[in-house]
């Protein structure tokens, strides 16, 4: 019986790895929509480190997004989900931030991190900001640059449009010089 239970657990972990690993993580949207419920409690969020690492003394800020675009951005061919990004600012000791090297942006998918810390609906230390004070930050997956193919059809389109524009420019000049000639006559 015990062996069967272990086998079933291993099977479950293999089939649903994300569910099992992220079982204690909470979507940021749920936290933000129910701030009262989570205020002052320890939460775990998981997502893409985005934008900038802003170091202030021995602590620093990092923003973590966990919306669908943090899984697959529009810049890497992700599908439209009909929503904006959803993230939260994390205040952490510098040493916890050291591992984060690639930050999400136009050219990069940021490192995937898991943050465990205290959620504040209105943080008294930071002028009422909604934030998480990290207890630990763990890098789950390295970020990477996006590979973007050069969009030749746009180049062709702009060249065609410029070609037409040049043609019209020439026509305009001919018209103007004719009008000048007529005036002189």
């Amino acid at each position: 019986m015990r062996k069967l239970l272990i086998a079933l657990t291993i099977l479950f972990l293999l089939i649903f790895p994300q569910v099992s690993l992220a079982s204690d993580t909470i979507p940021i949207k749920r936290i933000i929509s129910n701030m009262k419920e989570y205020d002052g409690k320890i939460v775990t969020v998981e997502g893409e480190a985005i934008g900038d690492k802003m170091i202030r003394g021995s602590y620093g800020w990092i923003t973590v997004n966990d919306d669908p675009y943090s899984i697959k951005s529009l810049e890497e061919g992700g599908k439209f989900k009909g929503l904006s990004n959803m993230g939260i600012g994390v205040w952490a000791p510098v040493e916890e931030l050291e591992d984060i090297t690639i930050l999400g942006g136009y050219k990069n998918k940021g490192d995937k991190i898991r943050v465990r810390g205290y959620f504040h609906r209105a943080c008294h230390e930071h002028g009422g900001d909604t934030d998480i004070h990290a207890i630990s930050i763990e890098k789950i997956k390295d970020g990477h640059p996006f590979s973007k193919p050069f969009e030749f059809w746009k180049l062709a389109l702009s060249l065609i449009l410029f070609g037409f524009a040049l043609l019209l420019w020439k026509t305009l000049n001919i018209k103007k010089s004719k009008a000048k000639g007529a005036k002189k006559e």
Binding site: I32, S33, M35, I50, G51, D52, K53, M54, I55, R56, G60, W61, T63, N65, Y69, S73, L74, E75, G78, F80, K81, G82, L83, S84, N85, M86, G87, G89, W91, G104, G105, Y106, K107, R121, A122, H124, H126, G127, G128, D129, T130, D131, K148, F150, E151, K154, L155, L157, S158, L161, F162, F164, A165, L168, W169, T171, L172, K175
Partner: protein, 505 residues
């Protein structure tokens, strides 16, 4: 009798619009350069397509509609109103090509929001947007703040009486200098000077707050443009909350308050008339309404009890209230917090502040301080008249750069615009309620759109109904142009259908 516009009238209007679109194409060169420097090749192509489309449109118009006649008032009004709509269609090309908009309508929404210095957006995945596109988003709100007609006047129109008609059609009446082209250039001089000073202050502060110098440089320019133009765009989806910085909030607060003041007031102070700051009716009106809404906000906050210290009240309450009052839209909280954390009273304090709005002839929107001043002075005059002897006549005077006696004409014009604003706010709110949104949320976003503010209680999103998107675009456009140009365009359309032909050539 309504007269049908002649072919020459239509050609003259098209010629004016062609010049405006050329202006839009020329502005696109700046984000193109930023994309080139940042080696964002696909973004470079987006702007190349955008620029060539604008130039091609202008050349088609120049070839077919060139006229030697000068613009009349009705031409100027229609060029301004239709010019903004067509500029929206062309300006949206790089937006749509970026791949961050599901529909062209969404891209048009963001364009109109940018031009009108509103700041609401439907762009998806903002945190992965290129530097080039971010520059375009902020630049168009900065340019829109001065007025896209002002841009065209500065560079593309020769000095003529028609030029003033164009200038005034964009919701600006004050001539800072006798020549309207020089006025347009003076507006640019004021804005560019502030751009340099404000961006440097923000750059230094961002560096102190730990942002790398390169990105800090771009963010400082974008934050300045968003705040000065009272547009409220920011390069990250968390808006001002992204920076977690009191100093950045303080600087942007100063920038958007100054940006919301009348250009005529700026010019008067620049030319040594400092007393204008204390005497101007718009400043008095702004201070009064700021005080009233701050009191309402503090009552609301005291009931909720979330933001307890003065610092928190300033950063989360006063900052967002002033952002709403100046119709900026920078926010240091989550959109949903207006609904969940502010409470009913504080949320309506922000709605009231947004509805009143900033100064006339500024980058801001809303009723405007000048109209609030005229309205309250007129009301006070009427009350005084009622309690005075019948034989006495109470005349009311306001001070706005110079002393102005209020007459029926001024009051009538003011009331017409006030009623128009209330109507678009109300219809927008009602539409939102019909679509199932909570009344406070529906009115919050409808007032935000109509007053060109940009704060959102989370109604405005890419998944909102298309009809609501179209109505909000109308609100943004009509609110920014202060209705007269929009009425003129509708009048022109009706005249084209129902008007009588004339013997004019």
């Amino acid at each position: 009798m309504i007269l049908k516009p002649t072919r020459e009238d239509l050609k003259l209007i098209a010629w004016g619009i062609g010049r405006v679109i050329l202006g839009i194409g020329l502005i696109m060169i700046i984000p193109l350069v930023v994309a080139l420097v940042s080696t964002e090749w696909n973004t470079v192509l987006d702007f190349l397509v955008g620029i060539s489309s604008c130039v091609l449109f202008w050349l088609i118009i120049e070839n077919t509609c060139y006229q030697k006649k000068d613009l009349s008032w009705s031409h100027g009004l229609v060029v301004a109103s239709a010019g903004w709509l067509i500029a929206m269609l062309f300006g949206a090309i790089p937006h749509f090509l970026s791949g961050h908009f599901k529909a062209y309508l969404d891209a048009c929404f963001d364009l109109m929001s940018g031009y009108t210095t509103t700041g609401l957006f439907l762009l998806q995945d903002l945190d992965h947007v290129s530097h080039g596109l971010n520059m375009w988003r902020h630049l168009l709100t900065y340019a829109g703040g001065q007025g896209i007609i002002v841009i065209a006047l500065t560079f593309l129109f020769a000095g003529s009486s028609g030029a003033f008609k164009l200038y005034a059609s964009e919701g600006k009446e004050e001539k800072l200098l006798p020549n309207v082209i020089r006025t347009a250039r003076a507006i640019w001089m004021i804005s560019l000077t502030y751009l340099v000073v404000g961006s440097i202050a923000l750059w230094i502060s961002l560096s102190c707050e730990g942002m790398p110098a390169g990105r800090g440089f771009l963010h400082s320019i974008w934050l300045f443009m968003g705040a000065w133009s009272t547009g409220g765009f920011a390069p990250q989806s968390l808006n001002l909350l992204y920076y977690h910085s009191l100093i950045i909030e303080l600087i942007t607060l100063v920038i958007f308050v100054i940006g919301s003041f009348n250009f005529a007031l700026h010019y008067a102070v620049w030319t040594g008339k400092r007393s204008e700051i204390y005497r101007n009716i718009e400043i008095k009106s702004f201070v009064t309404t700021s005080l009233i809404t701050t009191v309402i906000l503090s009552i609301g906050f005291s009931k909720v009890g979330l933001y307890t210290s003065l610092g928190e009240f300033f950063r989360k309450g006063f900052y967002n209230l002033m952002s709403g009052h100046t119709t900026t839209g920078n926010q240091s909280i989550y959109s949903i917090s207006f609904q969940h954390e502010f409470g009913f009273i504080a949320m309506w304090a922000v709605i009231l502040a947004m509805a009143i709005g900033a100064s006339a002839c500024s980058t801001g929107g809303g009723f405007k301080g000048l109209r609030m001043g005229i309205f309250s002075k007129y009301l006070w005059g009427e009350i005084k008249q009622l309690v005075s002897p019948e034989s006495s006549l109470q005349k009311v005077k306001i001070h706005h750069v110079r002393d102005i006696w209020l007459d029926d004409e001024i009051v009538k014009g003011t009331m017409l615009v006030l009623i128009s604003y209330v109507s678009i706010y109300f219809i927008g709110g009602l539409l939102g309620i019909i679509y199932g949104y909570q009344p406070s949320v529906a009115f919050f976003d409808a007032v935000s759109a109509g007053s060109n503010t940009g704060l959102s209680a989370s109604l405005t999103s890419p998944s909102m109904p298309s009809l609501l998107k179209v109505y909000y675009i109308f609100e943004l456009w009509a609110g920014r142009l202060e209705f007269m140009s929009v009425f003129a365009l509708f009048g022109m359309i009706i005249a084209s259908i129902k008007g009588r032909r004339t013997g004019r050539k």
